[in-house]
């Protein structure tokens, strides 16, 4: 339990939070990298999945992609970038690796959500004379929303958690606090860094649950 006490000392020491390698700077890097990666991943995955789901095509691709994605270690992807000239491109390698990591679950969840919309409801909407566009915006999208958000939430939490791995190849983010502690045999610092990332991941989950509730198109009727 001595470790816990010394971890608390580390966390409550102002000097550990300020400066280039300080926790605030690392937290900023972590949020920046995760945020940009999630935004790009959503911009790629969601329109693709929603279109494929609406058109009812490419199902095998959408479902299998997440299986393939799971098999590719982020660490290996990052390492591959680090042995190319991309290594001197700042946050770019980390962001690309995280986008590749986040796209498969986003795509699969959004696609499955679209396909699981009750066919009878879709037929009824068509029978009422809705165009493809109206059907998509007024029927399919609201009904697929919970599944899309579930995918978004789990992908975000996983991205925040996985951004830590960037530190293993010398990139920025909260993981650097952990690896720096490792290299100097400073266990309290390692534990402090780990706690910071875990708390951040849980915070992101909580914020997204709240956003989900606020934005839900079904919230008035449920």
């Amino acid at each position: 339990m001595d470790v816990l006490a010394r971890t608390w000392t580390w966390l409550s020491t102002g000097a550990n939070w300020s400066g280039e390698g300080g926790a605030w700077h690392r937290l900023g890097e972590h949020l920046y990298v995760s945020g940009v990666a999630m935004a790009l991943a959503c911009a790629i995955a969601l329109p693709t999945a929603l279109y494929l789901g609406h058109a009812g095509r490419g199902g095998a691709l959408a479902v299998n992609l997440s299986n393939v994605g799971r098999a590719v270690p982020v660490f290996a992807v990052l390492a591959l970038f680090m042995v190319t000239p991309l290594r001197s491109a700042g946050y770019v390698p980390t962001i690309i690796a995280l986008v590749l990591f986040a796209v498969p679950p986003l795509l699969t969840n959004a696609y499955v959500g679209m396909r699981e919309v009750d066919r009878a409801v879709v037929e009824a909407a068509r029978g009422m004379g809705m165009s493809g566009r109206q059907l998509f915006v007024r029927v399919e999208l609201p009904l697929a929303y919970p599944m899309v958000m579930t995918g978004l939430r789990s992908a975000s939490v996983q991205v925040v958690a996985t951004a830590t791995i960037a530190a293993m190849v010398g990139q920025g983010g909260l993981g650097r606090i952990i690896t720096a502690g490792f290299n100097t045999y400073d266990t309290p610092q390692v534990v402090a860094g780990a706690l910071l990332v875990a708390v951040l991941a849980l915070l992101v989950e909580a914020v997204l649950v709240a956003v989900d509730r606020l934005c839900s198109p079904l919230r008035k009727t449920v």
């Binding site: 299986n67 590719v72 290996a76 390492a79 939490v157 996985t162 952990i178 534990v191």
Partner: protein, 230 residues
């Protein structure tokens, strides 16, 4: 001579690398497979009673599923670091971390699989005088097997990938080779180890798919029967 050059020119694909470091590659792969297999096996043994507990005592279902979900949000690097004070730099540390990750997927799928067993099947078995243990082993588990195996396959594939992060404590199987190659920008080693890692995951997935087909012969008979009927 041309073969030697590829190590000097640092090519992505290098036959000479494969030849001269084959023992290193085999050792890393064996460690990788060992850590993954141990983690998934222990994960199964731990997840099974947890799933049964969650099912038989609904009171525990929320906490059990909630706890395993929280475990999943802890970053792998952080998980391995948090376990460091307890295990030191050892393979047991990596295996424990991976077991904790596999629990989320395994428990969830086991509970879902057991819940999906048709109530009629359960009633029929009870009517035939099956006790709770025999009901579980001979009726519920076989019927829940497809869901269970699906969970096992996801857990195994993720574990193969996550094992690489174990290189932070020097026990990451193929991840060690990737980490060792980084300071010298040794392209052939990074690429070979990464490709081997993905191949391992695919091989494990196919192996488990084969096991599932062997364990559930009735699903094939049904599929063949319905094909014959058409």
């Amino acid at each position: 001579m041309a073969g030697r050059d590829c190590l000097v020119t640092n090519d992505w694909i290098c036959g000479e690398y494969l030849r001269s470091r084959s023992q290193e590659l085999i050792d890393a792969t064996v460690q990788h497979v060992g850590i993954t297999a141990a983690a998934v096996a222990i994960g199964l043994v731990v997840a099974f009673p947890l799933a049964l507990l969650a099912r038989s005592r609904p009171r525990f279902a929320g906490p059990v599923l909630g706890l395993t979900t929280v475990l999943y949000t802890i970053p792998s690097l952080a998980m391995f670091s948090l376990l460091l004070p307890f295990f030191g730099l050892s393979a047991a540390l990596v295996v424990t971390g991976l077991v904790l990750y596999s629990l989320t997927i395994l428990v969830r799928n086991m509970v879902a699989g057991l819940e999906a067993v048709p109530a009629e099947a359960r009633e029929a078995a009870r009517g035939m005088g099956y006790g709770p243990a025999r009901l579980l082993w001979e009726v519920e588990l076989p019927l829940a097997l497809p869901a269970l195996m699906a969970g096992l396959r996801i857990a195994t594939v993720s574990t193969v990938a996550l094992t690489t992060v174990g290189s932070i404590v020097g026990r990451g199987g193929l991840g060690n080779l990737i980490e060792d190659a980084l300071p010298s920008f040794f392209k052939a080693q990074v690429l070979t180890a990464s490709v081997l890692c993905v191949l391992l995951a695919v091989a494990a997935d196919l192996l488990l798919l084969g096991v599932q087909r062997l364990l559930t012969p009735w699903t094939r008979i049904r599929a063949a029967g319905s094909r014959g009927a058409h």
